[in-house]
């Protein structure tokens, strides 16, 4: 049910997965490593990564 997407932290460079659904955007996110809110979704993959 819960969709996820790849995110990248623009402070420390950490990549991680987090819940994501276009309907509930924007969402406040924090990097699990450095707590920065400069978290960017990695879009490149044309396929929306559904349930894993």
């Amino acid at each position: 049910m819960a969709q996820e997407a790849d995110f990248k932290c623009l402070r420390c460079g950490n990549s991680f997965r987090a819940p994501y659904s276009p309907e509930t955007e924007p969402q406040e996110r924090a990097c699990p490593n450095c707590k920065s809110n400069s978290v960017r979704r990695v879009k490149e993959q044309k396929e929306a990564p559904g349930k894993k």
Binding site: L10, P26, E28, S38
Partner: protein, 597 residues
């Protein structure tokens, strides 16, 4: 209005519009004269919340004898006969015919000028502290339960008995700081009231039953208020035994139901065992769980302990950060009755300052739309969190208008308008460009341009200052009311002028002082990241952070982080950025509009 909840709040100081849901009581509270005929016939029984579950109440009930309003109500969760009418015995016996099973929740809207938040606290549930055996041993109770057992209006009519065998306990122990002052479980803060509450309980016990052996296990006794120390001394004089040390373990003797408490007495350094017939856990206070709803409706913030944050800890202790809203009682921090009353009167006096005036002035920071520049795209109407902009009509060429009384001055519309037709009074584009220029026209490579919202991140910076936290000198702040004011063009302009790093900062989503204007901030920053990347500029150079007014620590950490990023930005990179962003500055706003439309 009892049995009611605030559902929505709109408006601003002096002019709040509040929607309240009055839950159906199914008994007409004006007609009901509390004769109690209905209760006798009600067949449904449920634990009585008021008596902490020590006794039962019916499906139709009055919460407690002195309740106001003094009227019965039906709890639909336990009533049998609601739909279809299977029971309805109460309806038959009610002479005044005040029972109506079809009663509906009622929603009313009221206009008020000031709001006092006195949502109170919850009480800590010690179940998680398994070493104390609450819920596994019958004779371990909480201080709230103790109150009911000793109260003349309680389930035992004041005959103090213990739960397991309904006999009067001859030895009673109290454990202090249950759920308080612990970093591991419960809460780190001191709940303020529990020491004195226990002292009071011991004096009560000694008054009623002088032969009872009473022991108190404590870390420190905090008896700092007027008359408090006297009561503590009285308790000691009456023979209450105070043992310094919190028990590590409680065991039950299954035959007698007595409790064996193992404790290291830190005064003597010895491990002691105490056998007690009843054990009372002196539980701490928690922020009220459901206060979150009210908090969000009124855009209030919490301090790290979870209680509501005051506008200033010393100078404005009862003002909430939202103008026209005040705090009273345990909503703000754990406190006793006297302090609650004191704070409530203070809050009333502060509210009076507003209510006593017919008019107040609002800061002149509202938006203004120039109809000649407007291209009727309607974006501003869409983003305004206050719905303060009247609709556009593209065909009829009707430009939107800002309703000044409703505009809060967040500047989101000004940042969104692709045609620069919106000007923000006192935070104009020109002023902000001038600030960026002033920052970057000398030694631009050494500086980080920071956009900080007035309420949270700028205030977080103030708090870092008050806390004397040290951080690098590279940041230069530009204050806006809301981070939603930050136009993409501001950021691009800064990069074009040679800024190595730009930081956009605002309130956490839950704390936004303009409802949800900072959602637009995030969307804008996300778009900017894409745009920078497309132009071969590292998106890392644009940072986004949410910093609350209480997060001075985070402010300092962020300032260090952006400085580290700044040091990694090379001179060539900055030159390259200037070049790629320079040639067609005019076209950019138009592109933005196209991509976001």
């Amino acid at each position: 209005m009892t049995y009611s909840e605030v559902e929505n709040v709109t408006g601003y100081i002096g002019n709040f519009k509040v929607t309240i849901r009055k839950k159906a009581r199914y008994v007409d509270e004006k007609e009901c004269n509390a004769c109690g005929d209905c209760v006798k016939v009600c067949p449904s029984c449920t634990p009585d919340e008021y008596q902490m579950g020590f006794s039962t109440r019916k499906g139709i009930y009055i919460p407690f004898p002195q309740a106001v309003p003094s009227s019965y109500l039906i709890d639909m969760k336990t009533c049998l006969g609601n739909n279809p009418i299977a029971c309805a015995k109460c309806q038959e016996v009610c002479e005044k015919k005040c029972i109506d099973f079809d009663a509906k929740d009622e929603v009313v809207t009221v206009d008020v000028g000031a709001i006092i938040v006195a949502v109170g606290n919850d009480v800590y549930d010690p179940t998680e502290l398994d070493e104390y055996g609450y819920r596994s041993y019958e004779n371990v109770i909480t201080s709230m339960e103790f109150e009911r057992l000793i109260c003349a209006g309680g389930p035992t009519e004041g005959h103090f008995i213990r739960p397991s065998d309904r006999t009067r306990p001859k030895s009673i122990g109290f454990i202090q700081c249950v759920g308080s002052r612990s970093k591991k479980r419960g809460n780190p803060y001191c709940s303020n009231i529990c020491c004195m509450n226990t002292i009071k309980d011991t004096v009560l016990l000694k008054d009623h039953y002088p032969d009872t052996d009473v022991k108190v296990f404590y870390m420190d006794i905090r008896a700092f208020g007027k008359g408090f120390e006297d009561l503590y001394m009285k308790s000691k004089d009456e023979g209450v035994h105070y043992v310094r040390g919190l028990p590590g373990e409680v065991e039950e003797n299954p035959e007698t139901g007595n409790l064996i408490v193992t404790v290291e007495n830190t005064t003597t350094g010895k491990i002691e065992k105490h056998e007690l017939e009843l054990l009372v856990l002196s539980v701490g206070l928690l922020p009220r769980k459901d206060s979150d709803v009210v908090r969000q409706l009124l855009t209030l913030s919490r301090t790290s302990d979870g209680f509501l944050m005051e506008s200033h800890p010393k100078l404005k202790p009862v003002d909430a950060p939202t103008r026209g809203v005040f705090l009273a009682g345990c909503a703000e921090a754990p406190k006793d009755v006297k302090d609650s009353v004191t704070q409530a009167s203070a809050a009333a006096a502060r509210a009076n300052v507003i209510l006593a005036s017919d008019k107040l002035t609002v800061e002149a920071i509202t938006a203004h739309i120039d109809p000649d520049l407007c291209k009727y795209c309607g974006l501003c109407v869409k983003v305004c969190p206050y719905k303060a902009i009247t609709p556009t009509d593209r065909k009829k060429k009707i430009a939107p208008q800002v309703i000044e009384a409703a505009c809060a001055g967040c500047g989101t519309c000004g940042a969104e308008c692709p045609f620069d037709s919106i000007s923000m009074r006192h935070f104009t584009d020109a002023q902000i460009y001038a600030q960026i220029d002033a920052i970057l026209d000398t030694n631009s490579q050494d500086k980080v341009v920071v956009f900080a919202c007035n309420w949270c991140s700028y205030a977080g910076g103030d708090f870092a200052g008050i806390s004397r936290l040290q951080y690098p000198v590279s940041n230069r702040l530009i204050r806006t009311m809301c981070s939603g004011r930050v136009k993409d063009e501001f950021v691009l302009y800064a990069f074009r002028k040679g800024a190595p790093v730009v930081l956009v900062s605002g309130c956490h989503f839950a704390d936004c002082h303009y409802i949800d204007a900072n959602r637009q901030t995030q969307l804008r920053v996300e778009k900017l990241w894409d745009k920078l990347e497309k132009n071969g500029i590292r998106p890392e150079r644009l940072q986004l952070e949410w910093i609350s007014a209480a997060e001075g620590q985070k402010f300092a950490v962020v300032m260090k982080a952006v400085e580290e990023l700044r040091q990694k930005v090379t001179a060539e990179e900055i030159e390259h950025t200037k070049e790629v962003l320079a040639p067609k500055p005019k076209k950019k706003p138009v592109e933005e509009a196209a991509s976001s439309a």
